[in-house]
Amino acid sequence: MDLSFGPEYDDFRADVVSFLANNADKAPKGNDLRGEAAKDWQKLLIENGYTCRTIPKEYGGYGAEPDILKARIIAEEFSSARVNGGLGGQGISMLVPTLLEMGTQEQKEQFIRPTIHGDMLWCQGYSEPGAGSDLASLTTSAVLDGDEWVINGQKIWTSTAHIADWIFCLVRSEPDAPKHKGISFLLFDMKTPGIEVRPLVDMTGVANFNETFFTDVRLPKHQIVGERGEGWQVANAILGHERETLAPANTAQTRINALIELMKQETVNGDALINNPVYRERLMKIQGKVMAMRFNELRILSARLNPGQDPGLARMITKLEGTELRHDLEGLAIDVMGEMGLAYDDNPHLRNSGSWQREYMYFLGLIIGGGTSQIQKNIISERGLGMPREPKFEKAS
């Protein structure tokens, strides 16, 4: 057991801390994906290697060698300082790594730089009304007509489709092939004629999701990543990674510390909430779980650094456990505040900018999205524990 990262990394951490101390005031507060302040901040972070760190310089990144510990230090320090870590969005988190791994030279040159600099915003067209957990049964069709693909069908849960410039989209291009082998991964401009976007308001009150309809949408044949029928493998190249990063333990740690502060400040009948034995007990119970998840993450980190070390099921369980834990944690904050915990929108009594209610609901969304908790349990039991699969039923014809 050796928990030290080594002197080189101590120096690196000191650099990150000093960067944050000198620049944090320039960071945008919200999760704006388009504003000039967000773009300027993104550029500053890339210049210093604090985001898009391993993306090659020729595509507008920082161009560093992959270094798991440095990436970890950056995440830890930005999280504990509660400073915006740069632009998010599915273009940067999912498409760019996919292109780096499977894209053509032209695709890399055309798309990566504008995407990571915030000039090209993407949405992801995966789920459909009839293809949720069973994503591979998707039916949006792509038919080749000369040098053009013609797309017809509907996507759902397309985050940011209403503001996105482009979409990366899974379509059925080989209707006669087995379902996992008939899918292609296409890229197209959201201004193409035939696309209609209808906002879908979620329970937090925000319309971030959309329903997206395609009617005879035409795009050039070469706007495909990988070969025809390989779309499922292209999409899965990075899906597992997304799941692991949905609910990192260091954020849970930051949130529980914020909750402790809240409970010290808030009073009922003049006595701080932290002194209520029932609330204390619930707080400590969740703190113990957060602690276990932090150490679980250390084990995952260690297994990445030391090939040959077995992480067991540590990676497979993080999406399930991490999202449920955050939902519980945010919910405890609401409970201890009683009716004050209901404050929302422009209520003058909001605590922590209303984040407790927002995150409580947002994490219910994450429990469902990115592979539901029930799908996670299938994966853990079948792939992790080697239990028999559920018998499959073919579609009745």
């Binding site: 402790i260 204390r280 349990k377």
Partner: protein, 353 residues
Amino acid sequence: MQFGLSEEQILLQDNVNRFLDDNSPLDRVRTYADGGEDTDIWAELAELGIPALLIPEAQGGIGLQPMDAAIVAECLGSHIAPTPFLGSAVMAPTALVASGGDHGDLLAAIAAGTTRVGIAFGEAIKRRNDAGVTVKDGRMSGTSMYAFDAQADVYLVADQHQHIYLVRADDPGLTRSHLATVDKTRRTVELEYNNVAAETVSTAASVFEAAIDMGRVALAADTLGAAQNMLDQAVEYAKQREQFNRPIGSFQAVKHMCAEMAAELEPCRSMVWFAGHALAELPEEARVTACHTKAHLAEVGQFVAKTSTEVHGGMGFTDLVGLHYWFKRIGANRQWLGAPEFVREEAAVLQGI
């Protein structure tokens, strides 16, 4: 950076597990549960150096670390082995070494496996009813409940001030009576002191704390091993047992129970490792981590004990399969050295909350 077991630790784990596979199978545990002895198992574990783990080399021990003791505790829990490990090999050496006193002979005898040291700390943690001990001029009176290791040669007894004393089991003023509990894999006793000679080992809170922290981490590790074993048995059973012409493990109702157990238990392994490591290397975090680890493992252990029994259906409820020995051991680990709510409150106080 390396978070996990070293090669030496994996070797230690393999050795102890292999020994216990051969020497503490369920049938052997049943013999102990029905009134048999654990002396042969302990003597052979002494050959492997187990009682000497935490004792410095200068005192005839091996000088390993708390994390190593946690690794062995996990093996013992997995095999629900009847041994005096927690008192003799874990808590007593920790207290005796931390006290800084001259206990060379006793430590050497513990290391050799010839002297067993029991622990009677219950009253210093939370005094129940009218139990409790007082010491005046080197003589002890009162009662300790649920002291563990029924066959110890000497006991370390803590009073309400967390002062630790050494008493001999053969002192004419000491009455030792068996206290039956649900857990038949280890025996507890009530000790009644009537003017018993008591040698002061320590009056420092830090010594008591060192022993209790190490004991709690060892109990958490014991639960980790026992719970993992129950989960493994449940998964195996669900793969074999067929109903409706299918293995029951192919039903989501059953496989999701197993997934939930695995998802809760997997982080516990990292938590036990970290807690063991912290006891030796991270004094700032060690105490809070020990409390949380004890409490969290108690909760997850209870969930796994119940759920894995359910996966076995009616057979899980019988004596035939013997799952109940693990169930009860996990139940006992939960209460020993502080039940979860009690330990979590301690974690809060330690953080200044």
